[in-house]
Symmetry: C2
Subunit: 315 residues, 2 copies
């Protein structure tokens, strides 16, 4: 009997489907504190945050760790590698919800949705919407990987000119033009929209500074959907206070959660999205699809696993 | 000298461009109450609402009426025809802003934007967004003409299955399937989203009834961006009070403006958009592009006019 421990729970219909698909597997839905189940588990499925080096000590049978998340920055990868534990993640499943969130925020601002909602609260019929259009805009996408390219595809459907920006400037799908990080300064004055989905690396930390916002158009929209350390908070605050750009839509922050007194909550032009852009009712079903594929391979002792992590590289 | 009277004003840069393009034309920007200018005008450019039969009596030189609007329901078309006055409109220029508004509202609901904005007002960091996705939905588009097809094109880019619905059921662009008005009842249970951009005609007035909302899914979204008489207000109110569907996004109403006491303002699941979905900063520039094309033809005594109205048919 193969023992699988989920350190989170899933909906009953998904549990039942797993049991139907794998009658020879014993699935336990509990937590990492369930010492007995951890001790017996050959496979652990977790969101990752609960896995520390001590967990591995308590899990002598563990051969495969499935992380139902994309970021592995805090995982004890060295210890996992030392024990020859297979580690896989769910890279790629954030693409659809994140791209939809980016488009939702952009279109909402262009088509005056915050204003419409406020008017409704006040029961006030006014037609002075001041709406503009996304059509005909120019957008820079910082980090045109799987998520960034999906955003590019949707932007192009709306008639937006897309400029991808990465370290090397090498081409990416759904980007009309490509620039390198070094060319950002000269390109910013042309952009109506700047969207970052960059991960946190030594090249991206602090990549944007106050001066970059000065270079952007006054009507410009900046969206950070990558990592909070892309720009120093004091730089962003200064730029927004001076109205260097019109909007900053932020899904990530230097420190999360944002505390109640934080000036970003009330600064004009700032939209605070509490790191929810990847959330979706489809998240767990999609993660389980990847897990199911890999579990079939595991049970037949195959090797065609999806999303295997190289513990040396960290992705 | 050709006299052109605009009964509304436009931005200075647009005025200057007209004068540069047509040095031999005298442009006056005034109102329909400017009796002298009306009397001299060979061409009147108006939003249409200020043109009544008496206007025509006061405008003996009028040979071309350019209406910077799409709906001509209230225009004195018979009198215009009797006087052999050319009439043109700006049909087609609502496509981009309206399709963007429809997508903005849909994505905002799927990606929890109203909730995000409310959380920000309360300075409350919570990640219980309950977000879902547009991807994988099925949408019925009532009236897949120029605007409806553009909505269909964008929906398809988001992985939505599109079903067009018109009187005859004949095919339309960007619709995977087509149904006729008669097949609506049997198709509604399959739809997650129902969007109307239908005009007001004898076939469309009262086309939707309370029973149609009962047939829709409980999580369903209904959007009326066509005309308010598509559904009786009492039917819509009853359906929303009973939560037969989750959301009704309304840009048009039986009576506009909606008065302050109207129950729709506060009904759960109802979004009141005060007939602004076609608004856009690009509206006047786009209307003037059509006008400029036609004025070139006029000045060279050509005949290749865009958007000429057949006064018999009314479109």
């Amino acid at each position: 009997m193969t023992n699988v421990l989920f350190t989170f729970t899933v909906k009953d219909n998904l549990k039942e489907q797993l049991q139907v698909d794998f009658p020879e597997v014993k699935f336990t839905f509990s937590s990492i504190k369930d010492i007995e189940s951890v001790g017996l588990a050959e496979i652990i499925v977790s969101y990752g945050e609960d896995i520390v080096p001590e967990t591995l000590d308590r899990a002598p049978m563990l051969k495969w760790l499935m992380v139902a998340s994309a970021g592995l920055e805090k995982m004890p990868l060295k210890e996992i590698g030392d024990r020859n534990i297979l580690i896989t993640n769910v890279r790629g499943i954030h693409k659809v919800p994140m791209a939809e969130s980016v488009m939702a925020h952009l279109l909402a601002l262009k088509r005056s949705l915050p204003w419409i909602y406020t008017q409704q609260d006040k029961r006030e019929w006014s037609r002075k919407s001041g709406s503009t259009e996304l059509f005909g805009s120019t957008a820079i996408v910082l980090g045109p990987g799987a998520i960034g390219s999906e955003i590019g595809r949707l932007l192009q459907a709306f008639g937006v000119r897309t400029i991808g920006c990465n370290r090397s400037g090498e081409s990416a799908p759904h980007m009309e033009d490509m620039i390198s990080f070094k060319q950002l300064g000269e390109t910013l004055p042309k952009a109506d929209i700047v969207i970052s989905v960059l991960p946190s690396t030594k090249e991206t930390r602090g990549l944007l500074t106050y001066e970059h916002f000065v270079l952007m158009k006054e009507e410009g929209i900046f969206m950070n959907f990558g990592r909070g350390d892309l720009v120093k908070e004091e730089d962003l605050l200064k730029a927004m206070k001076e109205r260097q750009i019109a909007y900053a839509v932020l899904d990530v922050f230097e420190t999360e959660p944002l505390n109640e007194e934080h000036p970003l909550w009330e600064l004009e032009g700032v939209i605070v999205s509490p790191h929810v852009s990847s959330h979706s009712s489809e998240y767990v079903p999609r993660a389980l699809k990847i897990f199911t594929h890999n579990l079939y391979e595991w049970m037949k002792k195959g090797t065609d696993f999806q999303n295997v992590i190289d513990v040396e590289k960290g992705y």
